[in-house]
């Protein structure tokens, strides 16, 4: 213990003596960890956000395919499915996208039966629509169009302006999910989207036993000609795949930066300078063992690696969750016209944090110890004569 403290003390002195090199390594490490950490934290948080969303999905979604494309489904088809065992509820849904010329963006119009929603619907002001002609709208939409509760929003339907009164707005806190939303009653949504009476966008099915999904899917396919049945778990897997791929691509874009840093670090660490080699020779000559030289070296590079990695992690965290990842988010999200603030809920837990740190610190320390070990194992004579 006392020996390690003394070696630690020496290592801190070495860091100070090589302040320029030490700081450069800390900064480089922080930069690389910051880059990778940002990509990781951002994709992970988005993924987690979608996971939370998939929880709200019905167990099965039934669509009708016509000519290989999703098409409107007969709402009455729901009646044909209600008696399948383990089916708890079948709901014809009306929802879709609507292009707003004024803001040059798609909004999502969703027909919601307010009676079905128990608990907080996440509105900032007002309530959910209960009658035809009422809507609740998302923040971005409200801000862009200057709409508040009580105002009316006119949308062209069949060449005529159809007005809807705004009865509720979603807050900035849920903007990531609600920014482009227009919630209406199912009947009103039908009007706004031009879905004919008796038709639905899809059928939402809740099961008493989620595990029965494949069996129920098969039964539905038998009963409904041209039905495409989507399992919640399959959709979730699709999201996961998508995000892993996206995150991986983003990380791949950063690989050159990583490679450059590793190369630099390798060069700096393995190309042990003549001065350092000679220093190791001195230490051996004054009675230091190989283990002592290595221990001092480990302290030294661990201090660098831990500082760099932690600074990088903190920078990545602040960048993604406090600043909303400007720049990186754009690369990930494309050309969206409505860009709500990236107020993601971090999915960072201690295990993940220490995994990131460990993945940086351990190899870094290992790489930096190798040359010192080689220098310390060499016949001290070589080290001794290195300069002569």
């Amino acid at each position: 213990m006392k020996r390690q403290l003394a070696l630690l003390d020496f290592a801190m002195g070495s860091l100070r003596r090589r302040a320029g090199k030490s700081l450069a390594l800390v900064a480089g490490l922080a930069f690389v960890v910051g880059l990778f950490g940002s990509a990781l934290l951002l994709t992970d948080a988005l993924k987690r956000e979608y996971e939370r969303g998939t929880e709200a999905m019905p167990d099965l979604t039934v669509q009708r395919l016509v000519a290989g494309r999703p098409s409107l489904i007969d709402a009455a088809a729901a009646d044909a499915l209600r008696d399948i065992p383990t089916v708890r509820e079948v709901r014809p849904r009306v929802w879709g996208y609507f292009f707003f010329r004024a803001i040059e963006a798609n909004v999502t119009i969703v027909g919601v039966d307010a009676a079905r929603i128990d608990g907080d619907p996440g509105l900032a002001t007002g309530r959910l629509p209960r009658a035809a002609g009422e809507v609740a709208i998302g923040t971005a939409l409200g801000e862009l169009l200057g709409l508040r509760v009580g105002d009316e929003l006119g949308l062209p339907v069949d060449g005529e302006m159809t007005f809807s009164r705004v009865v509720g707005t979603f807050g900035a806190g849920s903007a990531l999910r609600s920014a482009d939303l227009v919630i209406a009653t199912p009947a009103h949504a039908r009007t706004l989207l031009g879905v004919p009476e008796g038709a639905a966008t899809d059928l939402a099915i809740d099961l008493t036993t989620a595990d029965e999904a494949p069996v129920v899917s098969a039964r539905i396919a038998e009963r409904l000609e041209g039905a495409r049945v989507l399992d919640k778990r399959l959709l979730r897997r699709t999201y996961e795949l998508t995000f892993d791929t996206r995150g991986g691509l983003l990380a791949a874009l950063l690989v050159p930066a990583l490679a450059a840093f590793l190369l630099l670090a390798w060069e700096r660490l393995t190309g042990l300078g003549a001065a350092e080699r000679q220093e190791i020779g001195v230490l051996k000559a004054v009675g230091w063992g190989t283990a002592d030289v290595l221990a001092a070296r480990i302290w030294e590079s661990a201090a660098i690696a831990v500082s760099g990695a932690v600074l990088g992690l903190v920078a990545a965290y602040l960048y993604v969750f406090w600043a909303g990842a400007p720049g990186l988010a754009n690369a990930l999200l494309g050309w969206s016209a409505i860009q709500p603030p990236m107020e993601l809920a971090p999915s960072l837990d201690p295990v993940q944090a220490f995994a990131i740190l460990g993945a940086v610190v351990v190899p870094f320390v290992a790489v930096s110890v190798v040359p010192a070990w080689r220098a310390a194992m060499i016949d001290p004579d070589r080290a001794m004569r290195g300069a002569s």
């Binding site: 006392k2 020996r3 403290l5 003394a6 070696l7 003390d9 020496f10 002195g13 003596r17 001065a275 000679q278 220093e279 020779g281 001195v282 230490l283 051996k284 000559a285 004054v286 009675g287 230091w288 063992g289 190989t290 283990a291 002592d292 001092a296 016949d379 001290p380 004579d381 080290a383 001794m384 004569r385 290195g386 300069a387 002569s388």
Partner: protein, 239 residues
């Protein structure tokens, strides 16, 4: 002059300081084999000042390294104070070197960008750092060698002679019974060189065994030297 470091003295009192037998150090350089030291047998009694004299490349430094347990000989054996150190493992050889041998090597002088005091206390780091007694001893050594006022200066600010004396202080901080020096008077003007020679004689008078490798006649021809060993091409030519 020391209260500590007594553990180095608890060996067979009659054994010679160094008993080297048939020492050889062979380097392989590509296809060439070079014997830096070939078949050297030496017995150095305690409390004497010896000089290894020879031109550069004659194997003095290599021999010194093997005598102090820093280099492993290709063949032969070395016993320090009666204990064979040739076949010790690295760890144990380090122990022996630490407590019995003080090295003052020209090429392995001081660590730059460090103060003189830190340099002198460097051997104590693997032992858990310097105690107050060690610090006092280091101060006393620096004082004795006339650089007590430079203790906190960075080594870069020292003259060649001062550096040599600081290195000597470091070699003595653990109070070793055996002191090995490589070219202790190199790059020194005559005043400084003679001062170093006087210091070596003093160390011998303290009861230490001192061996210096040099080609400097100011040291080799000094009357206080007990014996001069001449070396050429890795072999001892005799005094």
């Amino acid at each position: 002059m020391s209260a500590d470091g007594g553990e180095a003295r608890d060996d067979a009192a009659d054994a010679p300081a160094i008993a080297a037998e048939g020492l050889r150090k062979r380097y392989v350089d590509g296809s060439r084999r070079i014997d830096a030291v070939a078949d050297v047998t030496l017995t150095v009694p305690r409390g004497q000042l010896w000089v290894l004299r020879g031109p550069s490349g004659s194997g003095k430094t290599t021999l010194l390294g093997m005598l102090g347990g820093m280099l492993v000989p290709s063949r032969g054996s070395v016993a320090l104070m009666g204990d064979d150190v040739t076949h010790l493992r690295d760890h144990h050889r380090t122990e022996v070197r630490r407590h019995r041998v003080g090295f003052v090597f020209q090429e392995l002088s001081l660590v730059s960008r460090m103060s003189v005091r830190e340099n002198v206390l460097l051997p104590l780091v693997p032992l858990g750092g310097a105690t107050k007694a060690h610090e006092r001893r280091a101060e006393a050594l620096l004082e004795r060698f006339g650089i007590g006022d430079r203790a906190d200066s960075p080594v870069e600010s020292l003259s060649g002679g001062q550096r040599q004396r600081a290195a000597l202080a470091r070699g003595l901080v653990l109070d070793p019974p055996l002191v090995l020096l490589d070219e202790p008077t190199a790059h020194l003007d005559t005043d400084n060189a003679l001062e170093v020679v006087a210091l070596l004689a003093e160390l011998r008078d303290d009861g230490r065994t001192v061996i210096a490798a040099t080609h400097d006649p100011r040291l080799a021809d000094d009357a206080r030297v007990d014996r001069v060993i001449r070396m050429r091409d890795g072999r001892v030519e005799e005094a």
